[in-house]
Amino acid sequence: MPRNLKLALGLLAVAVLIGLISLREMHRRIARLGEMQASEERARHEVLAPPISTPTDVTVKARIFWAAGPDQLAPAEINLPLSADPVQRSRQLVRALLALPPTPAQRTMPADAVLLGFYILPDGTAVADFSDALAAETPSGIVSEQLTVNSLARTLESNVPALRRLKILIHGQEVETLAGNVDLSGFFDLHPPVQSPGTNATPSAPSTPGAGAAASPSGTPPVAALAPAKPPH
């Protein structure tokens, strides 16, 4: 075999070896990337929306409503420092929804969304003003948009007893819909938990009641936790 050919083959073998090694490394990196997604989102939020701490913070078991499958929510209790001030407390809860989902699948609000402002009117109306990303990145659909609103409404009402209604703004403006379907022009009713142990505002059982429940629904469907108020008469 000519010397040149030997050399070429040798170089080729080395190149293939290097390729295989880096391919394995690449696979490993891709696998790690998935695991890192949640923590990267958290890191991004540390920059975009750093944790809010107030002098009255007390670490409590907060009830946060994460996604549990494609069309329902489930509450989870997490240890969270929460302020005694309802506005700060609400902002801390919204930040948790945005920054702390345990897994990407449990996320209910777009990772890029930022809470720009939060106000509470004297009548208990909460006004939550989000960045454009909330509207632009929530998947369009009645189920998906409702899930997003529900997780916010249920999380706020479960942890901030002073709140009665929720208004969602996008970049300071009232918008017609969240992402083409769910109406954001009105208020969503909030129902603080009744003062008895174990009560919560959301159906915990998945909706597979018997067929033929026509006249009066016996179970609430999974995404039905959203209860915008009816206008007064």
Binding site: V143, G172, P217
Partner: protein, 247 residues
């Protein structure tokens, strides 16, 4: 709830002037005594609605399905009016006006969502969002207050309000049928603040198929006929029970 007012109703077209006896099921193979079904293919034009990774676009797929549903409902003797039959995007109020023009109509808005368990179908009735009160803070935050009413009539924006209970009943009856045809679907209808229903002065139901994320559009087009059957049976059951809320 008492019989709802019908302030938004204008002179109905001649074909829909007959009123059914409230407690009697409609006779088969005739439009007499049956509501006009306003079939709304949601979204359209620049509003694509949901988009799937495989290229399924809600506004197009929902129009295709609506055409099949229309044919099937007409075959069953219903008069059907489409809110759009091309890639236009009528406003929410324009779509609602098509139902509000009839004395006895049912508004059915068809959607395909981004999420949900593939192959399931949900019926929604409107849970109206409370209109925003004109408070100083709301005004400061650019929150619009409701448009003033000219003649003391209930506001167009709240047209669905008197029909919510009727809508709930029809939605439940349709959902019960959907649960039989599309396994995994809920047994009862879901309340939601659906913008497309708010201006409708008639019983109104939004139906969302899951989802644009299915691998192939075939499963969505195949849903059209059973969907039409479920709608027809649900409406027929509501008429039999005299519960559409029409005067």
């Amino acid at each position: 709830m008492a019989a709802p007012p019908s302030p938004q109703q204008v002179t109905p077209p001649s074909a829909s002037t007959s009123q059914p006896p409230p407690q009697q099921a409609a006779p088969p193979s005739t439009t007499a005594g049956r509501p006009v079904i306003v079939l709304d293919a949601a979204h359209g034009g620049t509003d694509t609605g949901a988009r799937g990774e495989t290229g399924i676009v809600e506004k197009d797929m929902v129009l295709q399905i609506a055409r099949t549903v229309r044919a099937e409902l007409e075959r069953q003797g219903y008069r059907v009016v489409m809110s759009r039959n091309d890639d236009s995007n009528p406003s929410y109020d324009e779509r609602a006006a098509m139902a509000n023009a009839y004395r006895d109509a049912i508004f059915i808005s068809l959607h395909i969502g981004s999420t949900g368990n593939p192959g399931t179908v949900r019926a929604f009735y409107d849970q109206l969002a409370t209109p925003v009160a004109p408070t100083p803070v709301a005004a400061a935050a650019n929150v619009k207050s409701p448009a003033p009413t000219a003649s003391g009539l209930p506001q167009w924006e709240q047209a669905q309000q008197p029909y919510v209970e009727a809508s709930h009943r029809v939605a439940d009856l349709i959902q019960a049928q959907l649960a039989q045809s599309f396994s995994g679907s809920p047994a009862t209808a879901t309340p939601a603040a659906v913008r497309g229903l708010r201006s409708v002065a008639a019983p109104g139901v939004a139906i969302e198929i899951s989802s644009v994320s299915v691998p192939s559009a075939d499963s969505l087009t195949a849903a059209a006929t059973p969907l039409a059957t479920a709608i027809a049976r649900g409406i027929a059951a509501s008429r039999a029970a005299g519960s559409t809320g029409a005067n």
